[in-house]
Amino acid sequence: MAASMASYVENFISGFDDSAAKLIAKHLAAKDVSWTEIIEDLGQYLTSPTTSTRARATRLIADILHYIPNDLLTEKEVNLLITYICEKLKDHHSLQPPALYGLLALCKAPHLSSEDLSMVCHQIFTEVNCQSLAQGDRRIVFNLFYALLTTRLKDVQKLGGDFIIGFIQMMDSEKDPRNLVISFACAQIIIRNIPLGAFKEEMFEVVSCYFPIDFSPSQTDPSGIKKEDLILGLRACLAASPLFAEYCLPLLMEKLTSELKSAKIDALETLAACAKTYGANNLYEFQSAFFSSIKKEVFLSGDPAVETAALSALTSLVTAIATGVTTSNKRHSLEGFVDEILQECKNHLLQPELMLMLSTGRLLQSVAMATSQSCDQVVRAVMPLLVDTFNKQTQSTPKHNVVLVVNGFIGVTQCFTYSDNNPNPILTYKAQLVDMYKKSLGEDTSSIQVLGLRGLDKLLVLGAQQFSPDEVSDVAQLLLDTITQVACEDSVRCECTDVLRNVMCTNPSLAENTVYPTLFKLLHNENMEVPGQECLDRPGVLEVIAGITKGSHCLQLATKEIYKLLNNETFHSLYPSVTKCLARLSSSCSSDPACLGSLTGGVKVIHNLVVSRCRVEAWYRVLSDVEVLSNLAEFIRHQAAHWDHSVSSEMQSLFMESFFRNVSSNDNQDDDLDVFKGQPHNFCPLKASCDTVFVSLLTPVLASGTKQCDHVHFPELTARLAGFMLEPLDPAPHLTVCKCLAAIINKEPLGKTLDELLTSIKDKLTSVLELQGQGHHVSALSWVTKALVLRGHSFVKDFVNMMFNLLGSSDLGHSAAAGFCTLLTDQSDVLTSEMHANIRIMYRQRFFVEYLSSIVSGYQASGPETKQNWLLALSYLMQGLDKHVLIPELNKIYPLLVQSLLQDDLDLQLVTMETLSDLICSAPEVISKQIDSLIPKLLKMTTYKPSMKVRISALKCLAGLCSLPIPVLVPYKAQVVRALVPVLGDRKRLVRAQAVTARQEWIMFDAEDK
């Protein structure tokens, strides 16, 4: 053993084999050898007259120390090694780095005694001149201190001032960002935990000299240190102790006047961070000066980033002042400070037509945001002024500004909690504010009306208990009047709806006695349809009902009436609106379990309606309307996703029973098919047992919930749907059938039934597609494939390959490409995660990875007339794909994208340019490489005659390119700027506008505005 150790050591010293340290460490840990033996083996090298050999030997010890488990050494061993290695610090300077590295390992040892710790520190402080070491070795020193400060703080504290002055010397003039990040972390711990005593100024100097941080990492910098890391590290040091206030505040004051935007922001953010630790006493002296600097930035900078920083600094400043001890000196108190601020700027609030009004509003709001006392003081000072100003104004813009500022203050008060003893100060002005909001609702400009409504909403929430029923009902009536005026703009009606909904939630009786009766009356009022009406039409009223209804109480009131309308013949013309209203109600309410009862009632109503009335032609016409059907399906879909198993079973058997009612007696499937294909005008009521109405409604009942149907007729249903899918139906019913079947296949549990179903579908499709395949067969294929791709079924490959084969076909190829759109575009009504579809995680990415090469090779092998099918399929494949999946494959894809731009296919060109736009943002480095081929093609397309959409897309892509690095763009600047001149005179205005933007971006991308 000893012999092999000696040879390891020898190999290491001669530089052959660096792995020796690891091996020796292993033996040490296993106690095969002892330290004594190793040191003996090393003896001759450690005492060698050649410096490099001694350094190498020290290095071996250090390496071994890093490899052994850190609790292996006993206190005595640690002591011996430390004493020995510290001696090495005094040897030749080239021995210092390995010695420090060894000490770093020892400082992490749990058996390090506090005497040894103190020895390490003293030796380093006396023997090591940090500035003359290399960057990596300096880092070892800082890491060593960091290890001691984080694990042995108590022992370090005992060293007191010696440690501080030693550290200051080590850190002094450090320039490397990697080392600075560590040394800032050390400094912060020191400042917080060791009394700085006489060294506070030195400590401040050694960190503050880096303020403000000016550092731009090179792109290839491997360390990954960002400017932000340094800024935050330094800021934490400055904010670590109130002792720094006397030095730091003047420094921040000075940097606030800097021309450099980043320095200004850094100073403001640092002020925000420091204010709390420094405390009121340190800040009094500077408060006015800081306030006037902050005010200047808010009023004049016009830069949102500076303003945000300034406002949050002001909030912190006021918060810190508020913590001060109350004294009789008014100047040194929160009240005095806020008073001073108010005096300086409240006059701007009196002139709401001028620019500074809004800035002043924001400034005072950040003061109010600091504490509830400052909020109280500011609100009481400004609210009367604002209300008064509003009443004096005649123009709309100033009024708009006043309401905006008032709303801001209401928002600020929401940050604090109030009680009965300590009410929200805003409520003192409740009456005046309600009056102001009512007046703003009477204005002509919709933006004021909207603001007024928002404020009113907040006020009603704040003071829910403070409003009497009369006041609330007064407001509700006003809202109702506004909402039912035909002249009311959409944005206002939408806002009104929100307020009314919230009001009704807190005042249920209002809903029952006032709101719904008024609206229902409008619905039943025939005179409403008179031309030149002042009042909202009935579809509009239904939209309002859908918007204001929330919670089980309101829902019950609303649905009770609407279900009645469904059975009322005179409302046939309104069916699209009535059903739309139901769909919206179900969408907004079904997540509330208390609402499900009212909603399921509706499903029964609809079922009854279809079963009993559908055989009457007039009713059938109305019910089979595409819009009505899709609304009803949506109504069922949203609630079905929340049904429990028993409700699901009930509804499923309700629908299945009626679906199969006539089959058993009549059992004539050909007739069913005729009916299904039939138009309403040759409708044959007695034979109806299955048709598009029924399948449309069946789909959500069967396929939206978590429970798979177990009805006895279910297998028969799927078989019949599979049959219908291959029939030449009209496009709309065909789509319905495909969706229903796809949703069922997606959820059907794995097993024999599913396999048989899929095999039979596959065989049938294969045979029809070989003989006389038509578009609807392809679309059926793509729906089934979609159902399988989503769940990741084992049959996927066969079905996808069928689609690939079709892409090469000259007559069905285009349909197959469109099939890929079906396959990969998310649907809103079936196969979604809300409808509990069986969706495999990252299915899109998997699909892309699996089939990309088939598409690329298919494209290469295909003839000229089918090439674009492959390109189109590829474009659908890439849509919405995560860039991490796309980028590795871009070299393969990019040539195909360029080909797509050259194809004379409008959709393909547009989709491709959309993909390119995405890539410009997500993969700039790839696009940068290809810019040479891309720019001429895009420029050519900016004058593509047949379609303005292509021209606009191309111009958008060109404008998007300007986000690439400047050096990439510069060579093309002149060419692009020149080539866009003719496009400025395009015959279409929308193209011209885009050309102006693109040209502007290209002219200005290298202007220095950063």
């Binding site: 004049l300 830069d303 001028l354 620019m355 708009h400 500004n401 001149v981 400025l984 202007a1007």
Partner: protein, 157 residues
């Protein structure tokens, strides 16, 4: 920094132009109109305030006149105060914007609205002199200031 007018009146912005069905019809040709040219210049930033020329009412749609068939554009702008020292710079910015955004067939006139500025004639003369405008744009400092006025707001944020 001292401003000519530290707290100017702010005006409401015009709504975005509505897109009509015929605007999206490939077969109909859209002529240049007053509104289109106004839209080009209304977003120009004021050199002093964080506001656009439209918000300061320096430009308004009434004072933009376009004749597509004759190929003429006339823009009259109103400085916020009669002694505004920025009038020339504002005029120059409008000119440069239109130079970059309109097809070269248009003859563009940018002037101060009559009676709204103390040295109206002098400024108008400068703005009308093509060579002086070209020379001004050779000056890299001036170009930088003009570009700041023309930079889109989104980028500044």
């Amino acid at each position: 920094m001292s401003l000519d007018n530290a707290n100017p009146v702010v005006y409401e912005r015009t709504r975005e132009r509505e897109v009509l069905p015929e605007d999206e019809d490939d077969d109909i040709e859209d002529l240049f109109d007053d509104r289109e040219v106004f839209d080009l210049i209304r977003e120009i930033n004021d050199p002093e305030h964080p506001l656009t020329l439209e918000e300061l009412n320096v430009v308004d749609s009434e004072n933009v006149h376009v004749n597509d068939t004759e190929g003429t554009v006339e823009v009259l702008f109103t400085p916020t105060i009669p002694h505004c020292s920025m009038a020339t710079l504002i005029g120059l910015s409008i000119r440069v914007k239109l130079l970059r955004a309109l097809p070269p067939r248009f003859k563009v006139d940018v002037k101060i609205a009559p009676g709204t500025h103390a040295s109206e004639d002098a400024v108008n003369k400068q703005l009308a002199d093509k060579e002086r405008v070209a020379a001004a744009l050779e000056n890299s400092h001036l170009l930088k200031v003009v570009n700041q006025c023309l930079a889109s707001k989104r980028k500044l944020g």
